[in-house]
Amino acid sequence: MTTMTFSQAINAGLRQAMDDDPKVLLMGEDIGKLGGVFRITNGLQKDFGAHRVIDTPLAESAIVGTAVGLAYRGYRPVCEIQFDGFIYPGFDQIVCQVAKLHYRTGGAVKMPLTIRVPFGGGIGSPEHHSESPEAYFTHTSGLRVIAVSNPQDAYTMLRQAIACDDPVLYFEPKRRYHSKGDVDLGASLGDAPAMESAAVVRPGADATLVTYGPLVATALDAATAAQDEGISLEVIDLRSLAPVDYAPIEASLRRTGRLVITHEAGLTGGLGAEIAAQLTERCFDYLETAPVRVTGFDVPYPPSKMEKYHLPDLDRILDGVDRALGRPNSLTGLEG
């Protein structure tokens, strides 16, 4: 075990994947000498050369589109999108090419691309630098989507994503980059939990709290706070957003009967909607109350002085837990 920051763990995962397979290469804006605006690729160009750690011209559609061509040629490109809000110029290539080429070619052409996206808010940035666009991709058939929440997963799941023959969107909670954790750099991928699996990160009995990425830490804090009030929350880290591993959530919900889902993305059509709908379908007879969603608001990501209001925090999550438990909460007395 090595103690390292979240960003160092991603760096280590990239390094390991490049050591393991000469077909792995990195592409993106400013990932070379600078090591990326978040320094995730620090030192990699120096060690692997400019042909494997490629500073590209400033065009996201081309970053993804040329990665598709490299995949046709047998490479396993890892693209860095500088910030969440800059993925949209590449949206067409992701949705119409990356996601569909395996289907289009009847399985003849694989698209083992990984697209790394630092996502989410909480870092005081201007517009377009704090978004949570994951639901656009979980709604897109042909893609796999994961969001990591801790250094160990960041390291392991990045290697799994790169090794996967399907395209993977890999979302990194940028506000957690500096958080630290123990990482087992030597563990074999074979022993790791499957990339598609969710994890119960804190067991509990009264309600099930589902989240991913940056809010896992917040959810754990909320669970600790709830404990003080005598409420026992089971916290589940989705890890894989597409497909979602429903088994542990179902198992939890059969015990708790109460579900709270939280994410930074806006409410309407966020991943929470799908999870609420699925669990209502799968566990209807076990549900004591309607699934509760605690999310960012349905607004463009606000100026940073307001992000503390927009982002679900401990208090808003606990208010959601109160709703799920039928305890007094901010909506008490409101019908519907």
Partner: protein, 377 residues
């Protein structure tokens, strides 16, 4: 002999093009261009002629099959045979092609099975061949998207240290798309061994090329640092020469090149289109005078290569291909309902599996078969 410089020209003007064979089948004196095809024998020229005749026959047959309801749609390449044959026949097998939907002539020359090729237009599959089998990517419908794939592939060639090349086909309309311009930026930045092959067939559905550009398309590339040529796209030899020039640059580490092949879409955009709504019939007549096949036929006849026997053999080949195509289309079994779920992912996926299993249960309720086609899908 590098950058094209013709700012004041109309992009629809076909006069200002490099030629080796005129519209009436006369050789043109253009030593530099001719140098690229000095080794092409009359016999090989006749092979190109055969290719074009067969491709036209494929086109006619497919159009007929669409009219008969056997194909859902067909994008004719009528008139563009020389542009496609001249370029594709300049390639080596280890070069890789990134085409649009209209390059079915290219695919034929690369060895695509004509019956499988039609499966796309019948609605059975999305890909008419295995891209790795014939080194031709699945035809691209999203205008211009394939140009970036070609550049990426070519970057890979560089990383691998081999001397093959990538070529990408696209239309005059495609030149307006961001992707095509970004492809030039990346190609120039990485000096990728890629050939941009634009078939300026004068139309993007109903829009004349003048909507996309007020100056020739070939003028675009030099501003990106990519040398370009503008050739008569109905002159198979000029097209081949230009493509060899570009490929030679690519193989020798010279980076990307750009070719505008000035040609004409003599048919509708697709069988669903009605060009009488938007184009002057005289234009079509003018272009019929510059037919790519006829002019080569004339030249080969003059040279005594296209004998009656050879012509009969060509016609027989075309017939055979057309028969193979038709039989393949008509006898192709429909895909089964569960084929919908095949190959969404390369690795098992719980979400898709669950839906497939549930749908199978649903179908079983009707006693319906759940057989799959088993072919490409």
């Amino acid at each position: 002999m590098n950058a094209y410089d013709g700012e004041s020209l109309d992009p629809a003007d076909w006069h200002a093009v490099e030629q080796l064979i005129t519209a009436d089948g006369t050789p043109v004196d253009n030593p530099e261009l001719a140098g690229w095809v000095g080794d092409v024998t009359d016999y090989e020229l006749a092979d190109l002629y055969e290719d074009m005749v067969v491709i036209r026959r494929i086109d006619t047959e497919a159009t007929a099959l669409q009219r008969q309801g056997e194909l859902a749609l067909w994008p004719p390449l009528l008139g563009q045979e020389a542009a496609q044959v001249g370029s594709v026949r300049a390639l080596r097998q280890d070069d890789f092609v990134f085409p649009s939907y209209r390059e079915n002539g290219v695919a034929y020359c690369r060895g695509a099975n004509v019956a499988d090729m039609m499966a796309v237009w019948r609605g059975n599959t999305n890909s008419g061949w295995d891209p790795h089998g014939i080194n031709v990517a699945t035809p691209q419908i999203i205008i211009g998207a394939q140009t970036l794939h070609a550049v990426g592939y070519a970057m890979g060639i560089t990383f691998d240290g081999t001397d093959s090349a990538a070529i990408t086909y696209f239309g005059d309309g495609a030149t307006s798309q961001g992707d095509v311009n970004e492809a030039m930026v990346f190609a120039a930045s990485f000096q990728a061994p890629v050939v941009f092959f634009c078939q300026n067939n004068h139309w993007a559905i109903s829009e004349p090329v003048g909507v996309q550009a007020h100056i020739p398309i070939a003028a675009r590339a030099p501003g990106f640092g990519i040398p370009s040529r503008r050739v008569d796209g109905n002159d198979v030899l000029a097209v081949m020469a230009a493509t060899r020039w570009a490929l030679d640059r690519a193989r020798r580490g010279g980076g990307p090149s750009y070719i505008e092949a000035v040609t004409y879409r003599m048919g509708p955009h697709t069988t669903a289109d009605d060009p009488t709504r938007y184009r002057d019939p005289n234009e079509l007549e003018d272009w019929a005078q510059r037919d790519p096949i006829e002019r080569l036929g004339t030249l080969l006849e003059t040279r005594g290569v296209l004998t009656e026997d050879r012509a009969a053999a060509v016609a027989a080949k075309a017939d055979a291909v057309a028969r193979e195509l038709r039989a393949g289309v008509i006898n192709r079994p429909d895909p089964g309902p569960l084929d919908v779920f095949a190959n969404v992912y390369a690795t098992p996926n719980a979400a898709v599996d669950r839906q497939r299993d549930r749908y199978a249960r649903y179908l079983a309720g009707f006693g319906a078969g759940t057989e799959t086609e088993g072919s490409l899908s």
